[in-house]
Subunit: 222 residues, 2 copies
Amino acid sequence: MSSAIVLLSGGLDSATAVAIAAQRHDKVYGLSFRYGQRHSAELLAAQRVAARQNLAEHRIIDIDLAQLGGSSLTDGSLSVPETPTEGIPNTYVPARNTVFLSYGLAYAEVTGAQAIYLGINAVDYSGYPDCRPEFVAAYQNLVNVATRATVTGSTIQIEAPLIDLSKADIIRWGVELGVDYGITVSCYQADEAGTACGVCDSCRLRHQGFVDAGVEDPTPYR
Amino acid sequence: MSSAIVLLSGGLDSATAVAIAAQRHDKVYGLSFRYGQRHSAELLAAQRVAARQNLAEHRIIDIDLAQLGGSSLTDGSLSVPETPTEGIPNTYVPARNTVFLSYGLAYAEVTGAQAIYLGINAVDYSGYPDCRPEFVAAYQNLVNVATRATVTGSTIQIEAPLIDLSKADIIRWGVELGVDYGITVSCYQADEAGTACGVCDSCRLRHQGFVDAGVEDPTPYR
């Protein structure tokens, strides 16, 4: 009986990661975060994805990253960029994936899951330090010494199956696995119904992915 | 202008870590967590320590580790052991220090702090995987690739100055730095006023530390 945790944002990438985990493991647990993000529409999308994939459990954890500030995704006084930016964009949330993975690790320890999946991608988000293969490798090294499993000589695998793929490759893989991208939300400024703005960084990358994959874009735009 | 984050539990070790950081840095930020622990008396102690040390800021973050379960410190249905246990004690909270450090990292990124101090100790807590030097080294490796600082070629130092010290050594160092241990709380079952039970693992280790250091134990016991 093999089981896995998936960090589930409700976006295109994490919905694909859920489908991959569901193909490889008997039991999949979804973990989402309410962290003061403006785009809370993504949590509704995460719940739709969790229901569609029949997850064993889906937990939404409240975390207090907005209190610390420093990102346009959690701080209303900063605006989300609508054109590509140099360096690290202001949508970067300090230590976000480090925080998310640490909760994933706690959840894996409690459930006895053998793996933690996350849908991070180095191609589209090269500006984010915590979306790179070096980050995943360093996190794996940490996990190898950080848990109860360490004592019994086993570990928990960090799986980032999409890290080197283009958006088009991710979409093609997901379509093969039957992912319905129409229920996912990537837009930084989506409304409650999940309708996307079509102009933010995230919307442009996503739409281009469908174009490049030769797949019709099912995203509801305003 | 040098600054540091200190993970501040309100216990003896973290109060000592705060004093060490205050000696080495111009500005010290305290970070505490409300994580469903039974011993919320320690948060009151953390506030007393923060006030005494004139911290630049002291933040208390609510985190939802109790929701995940798995520890007698956050789960009322498990009892705190009063005798030493073999292996990993049930007071171990899955991934706790990994989660705490991830918030410390976010806070350091936002404030621009150069270091994160934590009062973990491998001697007294050898049963906890996330209190060992290997854990700190692996976390440092992670930090080296995980933050904004990575891009500019700098990093944030993880400092665990007490990790190899006995409780008596920690107390001697703290007394030298003027730490008032009477305002700190280590007991797993302290009451609101900070009065200690005197019988739990944590109380026994602490009291023995004062005996070994030849320092009068200022802890209020019931």
